[in-house]
């Protein structure tokens, strides 16, 4: 539903986090964090290891409750509109969610079907694009870490979700893979999408406007 309504030109506030605080163990990761993600924006969350980047992403997806504060999707708290939010949001975490017993196509077919856009035919063109051609029949456990990552990231070409939340999407990718992914990011934000990601890699900001949040390691 959200894909069509969000493609108009004026930027809409997709996701708004207000006064978020997160405490893991006895350490405050961040407190009173605010961010507003509009359509057409890419947000990069930076910070050293352990600063709470992944925790912030998981709070934004709703996987992890925040100690304080609220996350709103299109003006509604994500706890109230969980199903709509999950329909409109794609999260690829540190663990990619690729079943190692299944082939690339079987993995992609599953995710396409549960998002309500079942594949009509095996996505050979997409596999060629992400460099998995010739590996269609091999269960994912027989592929390299980078190739498994590519299976998960191939979902970005199949989804219609306007909001992407990506935890270290460039991990294990080669230079060509990173360029391909950045091109896809540019395409996505140009058509009214938005991306929140963490990355240790510098992102070539020329292709799209980049907002940055820096988290500090707090003792």
């Amino acid at each position: 539903m959200a894909a069509e309504t969000l493609e108009n030109s004026a930027p809409t506030i997709l996701l708004a986090a207000s006064d978020l605080s997160s405490i893991r163990g006895e350490r405050t990761l961040f407190a009173n964090l605010n961010m507003t993600v509009r359509t057409g924006e890419v947000w990069q969350i930076e910070g050293p290891n352990g600063a709470g980047k992944s925790s912030l992403l998981r709070i934004l997806t709703g996987l992890l409750p925040a100690q304080a504060g609220d996350v709103q999707f299109l003006g509604q708290s994500i706890r109230q509109c969980r199903d709509q939010y999950h329909q409109a949001m794609l999260f690829i975490g540190h663990k990619a969610g690729v079943k190692p017993e299944l082939t690339a196509i079987e993995n992609l077919e599953f995710y396409a079907a549960v998002q309500g856009q079942p594949l009509q035919a095996p996505p050979y063109e997409l596999l060629a694009k992400v460099g998995l051609v010739g590996l269609e029949d091999i269960p994912a456990q027989g592929l390299s870490a980078g190739q498994q990552r590519r299976i998960a990231l191939a979902r970005l070409w199949l989804t219609q979700a306007p909001l992407w939340i990506l935890d270290e999407p460039f991990t294990a990718l080669d230079v060509a893979g990173i360029a391909l992914l950045e091109a896809r990011f540019a395409e996505h934000v140009a058509t009214g999408g938005a991306i929140v990601l963490t990355s240790h890699q510098p992102i070539s900001a020329a292709r799209f406007p980049l907002q940055q949040i820096a988290l500090r390691y707090q003792h």
């Binding site: 996987l63 949001m89 540190h94 690729v98 079943k99 549960v114 998002q115 309500g116």
Partner: protein, 225 residues
């Protein structure tokens, strides 16, 4: 949107496919069950009377233990590869996905037990008049093991060595099941009506199937964060 039913079917399809590619994981509990049941006549002596008397208990205890063997797999693999996180982010209530996982676990572990149940009864010289009731107790009881087991697995999935804790958590919950199941079969063996214990097992089944998904959901939200 794919709809709750559509997502349920997709999860079942995917998990059945995954399970069909890990055959040894499926066969091991079954082989364990067969070995235990076939060792009993050797251990306690082949007197047909003794065997027939202990048959309900032996079959049910070994079925319970063999079901516990494969229980952890329900969420552990998904937790490790991130599929569990993705499942929690599906545009459907988590209870639906949980029910799909329970259904798949039941099909993969309990249906084989139901198929070989007559063989187990034969091995232990259970009177043929009680075979039907034994089969009914397994039919009613195994979904309870899958559903109650899912709660335990959801709570322990993020622990590295959750196996022992899982058994400690679950076995006390399943003891009533064991008592009523063996009571039903023993009643049938001695020619009495087994309706009472069977009805109670049916009640267990209804309660666990309806309430377990909510408990599993809460457990998963605690474990996955």
């Amino acid at each position: 949107m794919a709809g709750a039913m559509g997502i349920f079917v997709q999860i079942v399809k995917r998990d059945l496919r995954v399970a069909s590619r890990q055959r040894s994981d499926l066969l091991n509990p079954l082989i364990f069950l067969l070995i235990v049941v076939s060792l009993f006549p050797l251990g306690v002596g082949p007197g047909p009377d003794i065997l027939a008397r202990i048959a309900p208990g032996v079959i049910w205890v070994s079925a319970l233990l063999s079901a516990m063997l494969g229980l952890e797999r329900m969420f552990r693999d998904d937790f490790r590869d991130g599929a569990l996180e993705q499942m929690m982010l599906l545009p459907v209530s988590l209870e639906v996905s949980v029910l799909a996982k329970i259904a798949v676990h039941w099909v993969m572990t309990a249906v084989p037990i139901l198929v070989i149940a007559p063989l187990l009864a034969l091995l232990l010289n259970l009177p043929m008049s009680a075979w039907g009731v034994l089969w009914l107790t397994l039919l009613l009881g195994t979904p309870v093991i899958s559903a109650a087991g899912a709660i335990g697995v959801a709570l322990t999935v993020s622990l590295n060595k959750g196996g022992a804790l899982l058994s400690l958590l679950l076995l006390p919950l399943l003891i009533p099941l064991l008592i009523f199941a063996t009571a039903a079969v023993e009643a049938a063996v001695s020619g009495l009506s087994a309706t009472g214990p069977l009805a109670l097992m049916g009640a267990f089944l209804v309660i666990t199937i309806t309430l377990a998904p909510f408990a599993v959901k809460a457990g998963l939200r605690v474990s996955v964060n």
